[in-house]
């Protein structure tokens, strides 16, 4: 099912055109892509930008781990439930198909795709999603992962919107591989593995913060990110310190609002 000619209103009135929003996104990214930047911070900015500029309900980014698995690297919200919707696509789903075929996958109506993905569709629908798009993260002959966009209603992204989404996916790819890596598969593997391991450290840190502060995983991630920003720390470095017990967790949790 495709969207009617008149698209649903996705942008707040007076919030400016998509062009302006996109300009803001790329300015933010330029700020993030400084020397020695943290890949996971860039990816975090990107998935949130997808939600803002494309009106997606949720966005996530999965990378192939070079061991035959797809792994979640960033999500617009960090609840366990949402991460599971992304992660289950390691077994089946539009992200896996997109990753394997290197082509975008658009599913405007998930309910009729249950035969295609009998495990993925019920999980996605139970989480409130009605449509999904997946875009490949490509570099020449290699596909490193896929960007995943979910909508809570039946949405078919237009050609123009898909182009925007692909531009964001391409930016993420460059962010992960960094410019010097563009010429070497070795450097690509080195960057990918480092980013994957940093993501594991973030999960460990979320667990520590959640258990210490009585938070859910989304709140734990927010606390982590807020503290990193407020103190000008790299997200990955702070996560490592939390997980190894070399920083004061109470200070990160702070006085509860």
């Amino acid at each position: 099912m495709t969207r009617p000619a008149e698209p649903p209103i996705r942008h707040r009135p007076g919030s400016g055109s998509r062009e302006r929003q996109l300009a803001d996104v790329f300015v933010t990214l330029a700020d993030t892509l400084v020397a020695d930047f943290d890949v996971l911070e860039v990816l975090d900015v990107l998935v949130r930008a997808c939600v803002d500029t494309l009106g997606s309900t949720a966005a996530g980014l999965l990378l192939g781990d070079q061991r035959g698995q797809l792994r979640v690297m960033a999500a617009s919200a960090e609840s366990s439930r949402l991460l599971e919707v992304f992660q289950i696509q390691n077994d089946e789903g539009p992200c896996l198909d997109c990753f394997r075929t290197r082509q975008p996958v658009s599913v405007p109506d998930l309910s009729i795709a249950v035969g295609q993905w009998p495990r993925f569709v019920p999980v996605a629908v139970a989480s409130g999603f009605r449509s999904v798009h997946a875009l490949p993260m490509r570099l020449r002959d290699t596909t490193i992962g896929a960007l995943n966009l979910f909508h809570g209603d039946e949405v078919a992204l237009t050609v123009e919107e898909l182009r925007v989404a692909q531009a964001l996916a391409d930016t993420a790819t460059i962010g992960i591989l960094q410019q010097r890596a563009l010429q070497s598969s070795n450097l690509m593997a080195e960057q990918l593995q480092t980013a994957l391991n940093s993501r594991v450290a973030i999960e460990q840190a979320k667990g520590v913060l959640a258990a210490t502060g009585g938070l859910d995983m989304e709140q734990a991630f927010q606390a982590l990110r807020r503290h990193a920003r407020d103190h000008n720390l790299r997200l990955s470095d702070l996560a490592r310190e939390i997980a190894t017990g070399t920083t004061d967790v109470a200070a990160i949790l702070g006085p509860r609002a």
């Binding site: 781990d65 070079q66 061991r67 035959g68 698995q69 792994r71 979640v72 366990s80 439930r81 991460l83 992660q87 390691n90 019920p122 999980v123 139970a126 010097r180 010429q183 070497s184 598969s185 070795n186 450097l187 593997a189 080195e190 960057q191 593995q193 480092t194 391991n197 940093s198 993501r199 594991v200 450290a201 973030i202 999960e203 460990q204 840190a205 979320k206 667990g207 520590v208 913060l209 959640a210 258990a211 210490t212 009585g214 938070l215 859910d216 995983m217 996560a239 490592r240 310190e241 939390i242 997980a243 190894t244 017990g245």
Partner: protein, 199 residues
């Protein structure tokens, strides 16, 4: 070769060249293994070539490793997120890259080696368990973080504890981790009903 915070030592080597490579890094305090420990994998197809696109990270090491017979070197960190255990090196007597399959095998081996070392040095865990690939699941690491707080141990010991517990009770690690995460989630109780339907 294994590197723990501050202490370096060579655990095992397969032959004289490998031993020489490790000794060199130990002596010089520089080399791919040491870098891999601190960052990520270091893959050098050709020790004779410029190697790393103009990077000249270990001038003394590279020349000496070449002289001892190595032509390509691949160093992989042994780590589980924030937990750094050491690194292992592979060398070749001919230059050339690892292909995709070889890289995948090396990475998987590094993962399982890291888990095995953690298990063997963890006090009180005597049951060996088979490789299960569960380290690629986010909830396993979230649960390790949660358990480290609840049980008052390090994240690495909690990681081992979780796997030992799962193995002893005959349950997949991933399922047990899911339960740990949901039991601490403030919204977990109301969510559990719908979770069951969808799993």
């Amino acid at each position: 070769m294994m590197t723990a915070a501050g202490h370096r030592g060579i655990v095992c080597c397969t032959d004289r060249v490998a031993a020489a490579i490790e000794e060199l890094q130990f002596t010089l305090g520089e080399g791919p293994c040491i870098d891999a420990f601190h960052r990520g994998p270091v893959l050098l197809d050709d020790l004779a070539g410029s190697g790393h696109l103009g990077r000249d990270p270990w001038p003394m090491f590279t020349a000496a490793a070449f002289a001892s017979g190595a032509r390509a070197l691949f160093a992989f960190p042994l780590q589980v997120g924030a937990v750094r255990i050491g690194a292992f090196d592979l060398y070749r007597d001919q230059p050339g890259p690892l292909d995709e399959t070889q890289l995948g095998i090396a990475l998987t081996f590094a993962d399982e080696l890291a888990v095995t070392i953690l298990r063997d040095r963890s006090p009180g865990v005597s049951i060996p368990w088979p490789a299960d690939g569960s380290s690629s699941h986010a909830e396993v690491h979230q649960a390790s973080g949660i358990l480290s707080v609840q049980l008052g141990m390090s994240v690495e010991d909690a990681f081992v504890w979780l796997r030992a517990r799962a193995f002893a009770s005959g349950r997949p690690v991933v399922d047990l981790a899911h339960e740990v995460v949901n039991s601490t989630d403030p919204n977990g109780i109301e969510r559990r009903g719908t979770d069951d339907e969808t799993r």
